[in-house]
Amino acid sequence: MSTQQGGRFFFNVDWITILIYVALCTIGFVNIYASIYNPDTSTLFNFGSNYGKQLIFILTALVLGFSILLLDAKFFSVFSPIVYGITMLLLMAVLVVGRKVAGNQAWIPLGSFRLQPSELAKFGTALLIARYVGNFNPKFRDIKSIFFAGLIICFPLLLIMLQPDTGSALVFLAFMFPLYREGLSGYFLLIFLGMIVLFIADFLVPMSILIPIIVVVGGFFAYQNKRKQKMMFSMIIATVVAIVYLFVVKLAYEKVLEPHQRTRIEIILGLKTDPKGAGYNVIQSKIAIGSGQITGRGFLEGTQTKYGYVPEQSTDFIFSTIGEEWGFIGCTVVIALYIFLLLRVINLAERQRSTFSRVYGYCVASIIFFHVFINIGMTIGIIPVIGIPLPFISYGGSSLWSFTVLLFIFLKLDSNRMGFI
């Protein structure tokens, strides 16, 4: 690579995205510092502590990110099956040699450092989906293409479910957005939405009321379409499927889900209150965020944060620190940064000439969106407790690096959008 080429690279790189990225990482560092800060022991900056480590993670992530920018853009498309393959092997390996942390066998110990393959699997899968769509340009009108795309997504999803790490597995549903963009019928999204609604209704409304409602609604739509036989049949089938689904959910809920997951769902649905048990995290997180009020208590002034009332505060519940110390204003700024980043990435994706880059861009935006939505939603009590990190902000090397790689691959592709892949 010539220097001229290198100069062109950095000229073409979307610096606005990188600025947002750095801003989010800085916010992360500041709030991790606050979460860990202890008024008695903290004196000087300490590299041995978690905020010290996070600084190292951020610096290495930057190095990693800029190294990616120096790679050849063709590399990602060409090697995507291999990357995917490696991450799948790691996912299988973790089931064998993985270390169990908090009930999830998600970590492979590598010396003093632990690797979380589920994080890597996200961009492995994103790359392969992009490659698949880029190469074959399926419009997802036929069963075959849906099946292939589904296979690429569901294979890692199932492997992660086996760990079992439901939270990380759920993130793979984010790939519905890029597929939708590329032509997957909107009905899939609606059906998916319907499944969620029915799932919730299953807990809140007894079967004896729910089934007649479904039958009446289904019957009504079937009657509306009595002229179009095909539609009428689909409606009847949909009704039957919905009812079967209800029973499957009930059964799966009781047989498949872990007791703690069941409790979490029940707490969110308001069926159970358990302030000292499973609901403790959420209650404390809400108290911390709520106590921030409009302007927040100020840096290092949050009592809930300082005195350790929110468990897992530097990782999954980092948003509670932001909420307490920076208030509604701080929360709004963070959410605005994310939305700005997401919209930016999608706009960048749309200007790509290659389908591969566009699909990959959508994958990046969707994955980040899922993490942000689930994580923040969990800290403010509108989503069950699902342990996934807040991108770029939560403490942890694996997650920061994988998000950095995810994002910077896209930036690289974008900087090279005029070239050929």
Binding site: F177, Y307, Y309, C331, I346
Partner: protein, 661 residues
Amino acid sequence: MDNLFNRKYIIQGLFIVVALILLGQLFYIQVASDRYFLSANSNVLRKKYTFPARGIIMDRNNKVLVQNEPVYDLMVTPNLVKPFDTMALCNIIGIDMKGFHKRFNKARNQSRYQRSVFEKQLSVQTYAALQERLSRFVGFETQNRTVRHYPDSVAGQFFGYVKEVTEKDIEQSNGYYRPGDYIGKAGVERQYNDVLQGERGVENTIYNARNVPQGSYLNGKFDTLATSGETLVSSLDIRLQKLGEQLLHNKVGSIVAIEPSTGEVLAFVSSPTYDPNLMVGRQQGNNYMDIFGSPNRPFTVRPLSGYYSPGSSFKPLDALIGLQEGVIDPNTTFNCPGGYWAGNHLVRCEHVDGPISLRRGLARSCNTYACYVFQKLMTQSKYKNKIAAYDDWQAKVRKFGIGSKLDLDMPFERKGRLFTSEEYTKRFGKYWGYTTIISLAIGQGEMSATPLQMANIMAVIANRGYYIKPHLIKGIGEKKDVKEEYLVKNSVGIDQRHFGPVIDGMQDAVNAPYGTARDSAIPDILMCGKTGTVQNPHGKNHSVFIGFAPRDNPKIAIAVIVENAGFGSAYAAPIASYITETYLTGKLSGNRVDRAEWMKKQVVLPEVPRPKQKYLPKDTTGKTTAPATAPATTPQLPQVPKPTAAAADKIVENKNIQNTK
């Protein structure tokens, strides 16, 4: 690009919608609701309260009437408790296992992390036994507080009592009180609660999530020390108070003694009484129920809430108003043929004196004289009609304090009773006149006064024309501040020169051979007074005496009422004389010591309880005095019955025939 390009907006729109949902929930928990903010503080802050000692109360001679004794509350912080020998703890504080679990669960339901009271008010002895082993009962600690102690065991109604605050108190105090605080519920403890209670101290400590203290909150910016309540100096003379309670022992009634020149109440006796120490400590609830249920209602503060017709003791007021209005002069005589004809009805006298003067009329308690004066007052030519005449008379009587509160510094004062002309019109219709209400002249009829008001009237006469609002607390705090209203002289609108002749009559009532209370004369002291025998529709007549002494430069004005004890001269007058003599000379002279001892032993109790029907007094017509709603529940608190219009005239007659002297 194809039409799929539009899906970009759907996805971006979805992102924005979700972001708005998140912001909406954030707005709710951070801005709209302060619930979480408050929860955050209760998470972190533990307030430790230190309780102030209530202010002490002294009598007028600086003798301590109320002091504080240490007691100990056993506190528990449920989540700190480790398994221990519960039986041992139960034995020390005297509860059983059931009680232990009840208390422990109650504390745990309140809060696992905050301390709450496990057992209240352990004595010093229990505390000593407990303290030795407290280290074995992890999670338990003691907190000291003080409770009241009344060394003389007298004046229960004056002191009132202190109790733990109720839910209602907490609500009404806007959060000032917390469960476990004490508040004065009656008497001085209630009236001066704000002054007596002092300020609670508080220590704010920050605790981390593992309930380990992390130092004081904001360097103790909001911490305070407990400050004790202010000292009160009472106007009571504890010697008189004790003597009064002894004299009224086994009797029902009141003694109120006032220093006329200052309005200070010297004795405030309500009998039956109770030992204020019973209303302290762990047995408070049980004792309360016992006292509450005992006959003659010891909790009733009779000096303030007992309604009595003043009876003959009202006659000095007749004379004073008559003199002031000029309808009589000191030399006016009326003829007493043994009664006064009011229309067709006779108001009888106890005596037949023929021509009788003002002085003698008062000394002999002549009903005829009083009625003539009343008649003259009501028929003055200056009045347009009877309404104007009565209203004017009634306003003059009110100036003496009858019919309105005297604002004594005690709760639950009642104002007495004096009808307005409207009320008479309402009761009798258009046609009533001075003959209809002639019984007012002799202090009967639609007139009731509390013992305090009667004593105050004596203070007015002793002062020759004014009174100072009676009060029980004469100094507040270290500087012994006196409330300004207790320095104001309230004039009753009678010129000073008119008091001489009336006081002459009252002097004779006690000291002349023909006086009604001559047996109660005090050697070497000129006591002026007036007996009353008050008709009581519920039983025997009440014995009343009001007076002051000495005649010149009076030091004490007194009202004594002994319920159901008959003639005023029989019980009330001697009791008043013993109190007066003791106050003025410090002792009783000669055989009066033995007579006072005899008096202390007398038992004059109303016959209670009796079935309702038996309250019908035999000497009156059932029609007039036995309304179906006769307050059988308050037999010892007489109220003048409400007669019907038709029966009104008869009452006048009935009431006077034998009962007023």
